[in-house]
């Protein structure tokens, strides 16, 4: 009411408001024009050939930033891209192949995670892609058996550890086993081989709750060598276990890629939320 009273009482104020509104309208138009101009300029730096939507793409790129290339690919394929701290320098190269090959060419490899369109016949149609920075643990899982030399090799006389191991062996009640492993995972001394081995054994427990806590405990014990455990967990029949792997995988692209195409919607939605937060924090 005060606002309208002011308007009514003072014509100068009305003029001021109209000028302000016009200014913002002009800014929007100018911005739109600028983006159109830059789009035309962008088009002259990239030659793009497309036999079909995702296959047989060819890009001849001259002095163009990666961000602009991705924008073009979005315009041409309809794929939604999520970008994280892309390099700003301009590049010149030629890329050819399907969309995945072209992206790998543009990004120089990189960590790219894809979500496929569930409605397509062969489920290989890419709907969305996340282009991540180089992950800390961005190497393929090595399934060869390796002994962990970093964990202390002394055995403790911790009564709780001995009791827990015995408890896990004898007790049929899954809740009791779950509680035991849960406390061991949180309170077990890091670097203790007895704790580590007890948790490892519980990774194959029949109860998914025990497997969840065991996985979490193993990750806490030895964060440098968790990839084999995470990879194994991603093939677990229970969504809780797979979710625990995704929660603790940081930005490992292989785990995130698998999770994005998980058959459980909770796992898929969790990884999307995780990637969205990562995107927000890096802007």
């Amino acid at each position: 009411m005060l606002f309208y009273k002011l308007l009514k009482d003072n014509i100068a104020v009305s003029v001021l408001i109209h000028c302000w509104l016009l200014f913002f309208s002009y800014s929007s138009i100018a911005q739109s024009h600028a983006s159109k101009t830059s789009s035309n300029q962008l088009a002259s730096n990239i030659e793009f050939y497309q036999a079909s939507r995702f296959d047989d793409l060819r890009l001849n790129i001259k002095q163009t930033s990666v961000g602009q290339i991705i924008k073009l690919l979005h315009d041409k394929t309809g794929v939604i891209f999520h970008l994280y701290n892309l390099p700003e320098e301009q590049i010149t190269l030629n890329c050819q192949g399907d969309l995945k090959a072209v992206l790998a060419c543009v990004m120089g490899g990189g960590n790219i995670i894809y979500r496929y369109n569930g409605h397509s016949r062969d489920k290989t149609e890419i709907a969305e892609a996340w282009i991540l920075p180089i992950a800390i643990n961005s190497y393929p899982v090595d399934n060869s058996k390796k002994t962990n030399t970093k964990i202390n090799t002394y055995f403790t006389s911790n009564i709780r550890i001995d009791n827990t191991a015995q408890l896990l062996k004898d007790v049929e009640n899954p809740k009791l086993r779950m509680n035991a492993i849960e406390r061991l995972a949180i309170e077990g001394q890091q670097g203790d081989l007895a704790v580590y081995n007890t948790l490892k054994k519980s990774l194959s427990d029949s109860n998914p709750g025990v497997r969840v806590q065991a996985l979490y405990g193993v990750i806490r014990q030895d964060q440098e060598n968790i990839l084999p455990f995470l990879q194994h967990a991603m093939s677990d029949s229970d969504a809780d276990v797979r979710l625990t792997a995704v929660e603790n995988c940081a930005d490992n692209p292989w785990i995130l890629q698998q999770a994005l195409n998980d058959n459980d919607s909770n796992v898929r939605e969790f990884v999307k939320a995780k990637l969205a937060i990562q995107n927000t924090s890096q802007q």
Partner: protein, 165 residues
């Protein structure tokens, strides 16, 4: 006199225009996790938030309060709640935020839990996340340590996990 009145009116109008067009975005620490179905309706995640003086934070003042909000990402598992608490020897206080509808993209209302007694540079808060029914539940927890004026002070991310269900 008339000129002074016009200037005052114009100035007041400008302030009103600016105030109504200004939008602020609350920046908070966001942390995603989940309550597993295997632990049933009693599944509870428990975290410790460490507030401290951080040269990179917006404020170097002592921590006065914790901002807390929760977003339920799953329709199953009933209602999701987060209870924040703070303690000093002999005393404690807590509050709860609840997201009534999971999976709708709308977070719970946010709340502020103030410290007990005088503001301190270093402080610890605890947050327990739970739900009202069995089911796997994804969530996003937003929290931030703040000084008395709402500016961000040093806040631990990720939170220390005391219980993970």
């Amino acid at each position: 006199m008339k000129l002074n009145k016009n200037i005052k009116t114009t100035l007041l109008s400008s302030i009103i225009i600016i105030a109504t067009s200004y939008t602020s975005t609350v920046l908070a620490h966001d942390y995603t996790d989940s309550l597993k179905a295997a632990f049933g309706a009693s599944a509870t995640d428990l975290y410790r938030i460490d507030c401290s003086q951080d040269a990179g934070a917006a404020s170097q003042s002592p921590t006065h309060q914790l901002f807390i909000q929760i977003n339920d990402g799953s329709a199953a598992g009933g209602k999701l709640s987060a209870t924040a608490s703070v303690f000093t020897p002999g005393f404690g206080k807590a509050l709860t935020v609840t997201d009534p509808t999971g999976g709708d993209g709308v977070a719970s209302p946010s709340k502020l839990l103030t410290v007990i007694g005088a503001d301190q540079q270093d402080n610890q808060f605890f947050i327990a996340v739970s739900h009202s029914a069995t089911g796997l539940k994804n969530y996003e927890l937003s929290y931030h340590c703040q000084d008395a004026s709402g500016q961000h002070t040093g806040t631990s991310l990720p939170p220390a996990i005391l219980q993970n269900q």
